[in-house]
Structures are given as structure tokens and as C-alpha cells.
């Protein structure tokens, strides 16, 4: 069966129709076209491109990466060329990719988030933004907005006013109660929640006696974080009504199914793209196989049954 047409996998997130629940995570899939050599992008439900901010950002100094047990730390720090460049140059390159092209929006102030959202609102072929209030790799803003329910609420309200299309808000796991943040974001007008962003971590070179990242701390991703991500999705699915996009350590279709079972409507593949650049397409096939094997008529039948 051609998965492109496996109707059982279709899901919707507010106004955005996804041909299947498989999306790719911001910061791990470039602007999509980098993967054209390895797979057909139109097999995917959606692609979330790298974080875009108000103006050009150089990000953090090298080294920005450290491998850990079943995972990696990154300290990229939102390197990107800013919203102007995005609208002027990148948008043209991605606007005809035949899947939902979602932009991850970041900033250091409410004004910056709003400005970027407003500009993207005008781009016809961007059906949704993912508001990144959970990046642990920048000093100002980023995770701060995502760890305080009041700040989270403020930024979401402000962006909601400026942005008409599907508004996904990406949550941080580095909080005492992710449910509290999720509820605040829900009440402030978000259409969907995606989670989790990276866990706040660090790595050390014992021989050289120094940190492995230039910023000392960074964001942990990969299979190591999956148990935390599943717990977050499960908690939030039980206590809010918004469609959830599950993220964290998904390496294969079984992992994706686990997220759907605990309540995710869609999922995003992150770090796995580095190891197998065609994994996201393979996971789409894997989902169809799972439905076949378990005789399931529509993926929604198993959503949130745990």
C-alpha cells in the first residue's frame, strides 16, 4: 500500500490536515529540502523547520554537541538568519514542498515572538507555527517563557492576537508541573501542544576535565528522554483537550505508536533523522503495518487509550 494514500493515518490538528501523524522536529530536519536525497518529503504529515527569530542569530560557539548514553546534548542556540531572510529567501525554497510546512518561532521577548508570528501569518503556504517557549539553549527568553505559567500565558495570548492559523505551542519538560503550563497555554488560545523539547543537561570530559559544550549545559534528546516524554504527553492528554504532538526519542514506528496510545494526535521525529535520514518515511510505513497487524480501521481508534 502506498502510505501517501493510507487514509487510515490521516489526522487533523485544528485546521491543518496531515496525511499521517508523522512530522519532523525543528532543528533536526533543516528546511526539509536537505532530506530530498534520502526520501520523498510528500510522504510526511508535516515538517517543522528550524527555529526562526526576529533577526539574525549566530547561536553559541563550537562545540555544540556531545554524545551521551542513548542520546545527545546540543547547544546550538537558535542559530538562524532571522525572519526577513526567511520570508525573502527560504520561504521560496520550501513553499512548494507538498506537506505541511510548519515554522518553529522563537524569541527573547514577547514583541519578537509576535513580530515573527505576524510575518509568517502572511505566508500562504505555512499552515501553522510552533511557538518554541522551551529552548534551554539561549540565555534570554526561550525556556524562561515555558517554565512560568504566567509568562507562557502572556506570550501565547499576544501571539494568538497576531496569528490566525494553527498555533502549536511547544512545551518544556524542565518544569515541576507540565500540566500547569499546558493548561495556561490552552486557556490563552493555543490550538495544539507539542512536547517535549530537550531536557536540560550537561556532559563532561573527565580526561580533559572540562565541559563538552561551550555553553556548559545543553539540551538532551534521543531515546534516553522517551520515558519522560511519554509521561508528559500522558499527563497533559488526560488534563487538557488540545491535540498533542508527541516528541522525544522516537526511533521507530513502535515508539510512535506508544505516543499515540498515551494521547498524541501526531508525532515529531528529531534526533533519529541524524542517524537514519529516511527514518521518518519508514515510520509512516511502520504505522500502516501496525494498523494492518492489529486490524485497526483508523489511527484515532488507539489514540489516548492508555
Amino acid at each position: 500500500m502506498n502510505n501517501n494514500t493510507d487514509k487510515r493515518l490521516e489526522v487533523t490538528i485544528k485546521d491543518m490536515v496531515l496525511r499521517n501523524p508523522v512530522m519532523t522536529a525543528s532543528g533536526t530536519f533543516g528546511y526539509g529540502y536537505d532530506f530530498e536525497d534520502f526520501m520523498s518529503l510528500d510522504s510526511l504529515g508535516g515538517i517543522v523547520v528550524k527555529a526562526t527569530t526576529g533577526s539574525n542569530r549566530e547561536g553559541n560557539p563550537y562545540p555544540r554537541m556531545a554524545e551521551t548514553s542513548s542520546g545527545m546534548l546540543n547547544a546550538v542556540g537558535l542559530q538562524n538568519k532571522g525572519i526577513d531572510y526567511f520570508c525573502r529567501s527560504l520561504y521560496k525554497k520550501i513553499k512548494d514542498i507538498n506537506t505541511n510546512m510548519v515554522v518553529n518561532v522563537s524569541g527573547s521577548s514577547i514583541e519578537e515572538y509576535v513580530e515573527v508570528a505576524q510575518r509568517i501569518n502572511e505566508l500562504e503556504n505555512i499552515p501553522a507555527i510552533e511557538l518554541n517557549i522551551s529552548c534551554p539553549n539561549v540565555k534570554q527568553g526561550g525556556m524562561a517563557f515555558g517554565t512560568d505559567p504566567k509568562m507562557a500565558s502572556e506570550v501565547v495570548k499576544a501571539v494568538r492576537k497576531a496569528y490566525d492559523k494553527t498555533l502549536i505551542v511547544k512545551l518544556s519538560p524542565n518544569v515541576t508541573s507540565i500540566v500547569e503550563i499546558a493548561k495556561a497555554v490552552e486557556a490563552s488560545g493555543a490550538d495544539s501542544l507539542s512536547m517535549i523539547n530537550t531536557l536540560f543537561g550537561m556532559a563532561v570530559d573527565a580526561e580533559k576535565r572540562q565541559p563538552l559544550l561551550s555553553t556548559i549545559t545543553g539540551g538532551l534528546s534521543g531515546p534516553a528522554v522517551k520515558p519522560v516524554a511519554l509521561r508528559c504527553v500522558w499527563q497533559v492528554a488526560k488534563q487538557t483537550k488540545l491535540p498533542i504532538i508527541g516528541i522525544g526519542g522516537i526511533m521507530n514506528a513502535t515508539d510512535a505508536i506508544e505516543f499515540i496510545l498515551v494521547g498524541a494526535t501526531a508525532i515529531e521525529i528529531g534526533t533519529a533523522n541524524f542517524i537514519n535520514p529516511s527514518i521518518s518515511q519508514e515510520i509512516v510505513y511502520g504505522l500502516s503495518e501496525y494498523l494492518d497487524r492489529h486490524n485497526i480501521k483508523n489511527i484515532s481508534e488507539i489514540r489516548g487509550i492508555i
Binding site: 536525497d37 534520502f38 563550537y62 554524545e67 545527545m72 546540543n74 546550538v76 541524524f274
Partner: protein, 252 residues
């Protein structure tokens, strides 16, 4: 075009206890590969390595559709690769990176230790293009020297060993060949060596290309982990590099 495909190990040759050459068979026709490009290897096995490992392409045999990799054991991934046996398969993403830009008609290649890996294929390409090259290899002692015959057949080989067991005694930077005039220099090896050669080249206004071995998560431009500070800001080593004109690098 980049590929993500399996190769078959046809030979695993031990050079020293920590240095080996993998010869890999491709089952299709190899695409165009530029000297200085690299591959990203999926490391299977009990070492439980999470990310792929970037390794330069040491040599290419177009007729046989084979490539070879020169690898130094420095940690668990390279250790695991050293155990590969003839017939086992290895998944590679390739070819990655920009490769060397060839400038001029008389060029110098400088390599230190296992960093010299990409120079063999460069020397081969230069010869194919009838460009006269000298190659200067530095290493600890004669035991660390590899592919000597190949180098000799492709280029004028000059050697510097720390203990004088082959060529001149001392560091590459003290070799007299450096006093000659060249249109460009291609340098691969430990960072201090590359910096020293770059400095020398700068003084004499010779373009000098260096190969950076930055830590990479993806190797094909999407993670932004591998950046290097250049005159135009942070650039990805894996796509803009790994070969850079040293004058473009802030640190050089």
C-alpha cells in the same frame, strides 16, 4: 546527490595497533567523489554507539567501485570499526562535505599522522589532472607511516619523523620543502600543525586549505552542531567545509 547505502568490507588492514585501513566495496556505481569529502558511518556492535562517525575518504578506486578509509582508534566507535571483518556490511551516508578546490599547477600537500587521510585521494586526483604535487608527511616514527608506495607513485614524497627514523628528523614545519614556492597548500592533520602551516602560508601569501575535524551530529547540514567561526560568521563544517581556506577562519 547524497546516498545512504551499505558497503561491504573487502579488507581491514592493520597499519599500527591503533591505525587501520578499511577497503569497502560499493554494490552500485560510485557517484562522483571529490578529494576531501567524507562519509558518515553507522557503527553497530556492542560499543552501543549512538551517532554516526565522520571519516574522510582516504582513496577511491572508481574501476572497482571501492573506497578506502584510514582510521585511528581514539574511542569506542573507532575501536568497534577496527573489529570489522571481510564480508561484513557497513552503512554510510556519502559523499559529504565540499572537498578540496584545486588552485594552480604546483601544489604542496602536508599531512600529519592519521589526519593525512584525505591526501592520498587528493594526490591521485592531482596526478590525473597533470598537476605537479609535492607531499610532505609528518609522523612520530617510521612505523606510523602508511601508503608510502602509493604516495610515491603519485607525488614527490617528503617525510619528517619525530625520531628521525625516516626522512628528516623533526616536525613537518622544519622541512626544507616548505621553502620552495607553491601555488597552493593543502594541509590535514592535528590543529597545531595546520595552524603552523597556515601561518607560514599566510606570510608568503600562498592560499592554504585545511580540513577541520569538528564534532558532528548529522554530517549533512541539518543540525548546526559542527560550526566554525569564519569571517562570515558561523559556518557548518560539514557542508561549507570540512575544507576551508585558512584565511577565512577566525581561529587560524
Amino acid at each position: 546527490m547524497k546516498y545512504c547505502k551499505d558497503f561491504i568490507v573487502v579488507e581491514n588492514e592493520t597499519i599500527t595497533p591503533t591505525l587501520f585501513i578499511l577497503k569497502l566495496q560499493y554494490l552500485e556505481t560510485l557517484p562522483e567523489i571529490k578529494a576531501g569529502q567524507f562519509v558518515e558511518i553507522m557503527v553497530k556492535g556492542e560499543a552501543n554507539v549512538f551517532l554516526r562517525r565522520p571519516i574522510s575518504i582516504h582513496d577511491v578506486d572508481k574501476d572497482r567501485n571501492q573506497i578506502s578509509l584510514l582510521i585511528q582508534i581514539v574511542g569506542k566507535g573507532t575501536e568497534e570499526l577496527s573489529k570489522l571483518k571481510k564480508g561484513e556490511s557497513l552503512n554510510l551516508i556519502f559523499p559529504l562535505g565540499n572537498g578540496f578546490t584545486i588552485i594552480g599547477k604546483k601544489v604542496l600537500l602536508v599531512g600529519g599522522g592519521c589526519g593525512a587521510a584525505p591526501l592520498l585521494y587528493l594526490a591521485r586526483v592531482l596526478k590525473q589532472n597533470q598537476i605537479k604535487s609535492d607531499i610532505l608527511i609528518g609522523c612520530r616514527d617510521i612505523k606510523q607511516l602508511f601508503s608510502k608506495k602509493e604516495y610515491e607513485s603519485l607525488s614527490n614524497l617528503h617525510i619528517a619523523t619525530e625520531d628521525g627514523s625516516c626522512g628528516i628528523k623533526g616536525l613537518v614545519t622544519s622541512h626544507p620543502i616548505l621553502d620552495e614556492d607553491f601555488d597552493s597548500i593543502y594541509c590535514c592533520g592535528p590543529t597545531p600543525m595546520m595552524k603552523a602551516i597556515s601561518k607560514l602560508a599566510k606570510e608568503r601569501n600562498i592560499p592554504c586549505y585545511v580540513s577541520l575535524e569538528h564534532k558532528m551530529a548529522c554530517g549533512f547540514g541539518v543540525c548546526l552542531c559542527c560550526v566554525v567561526d569564519t569571517n562570515q560568521g558561523n559556518k557548518r563544517t560539514c557542508t561549507t567545509g570540512p575544507i576551508f581556506l585558512s584565511s577565512e577562519l577566525k581561529d587560524f
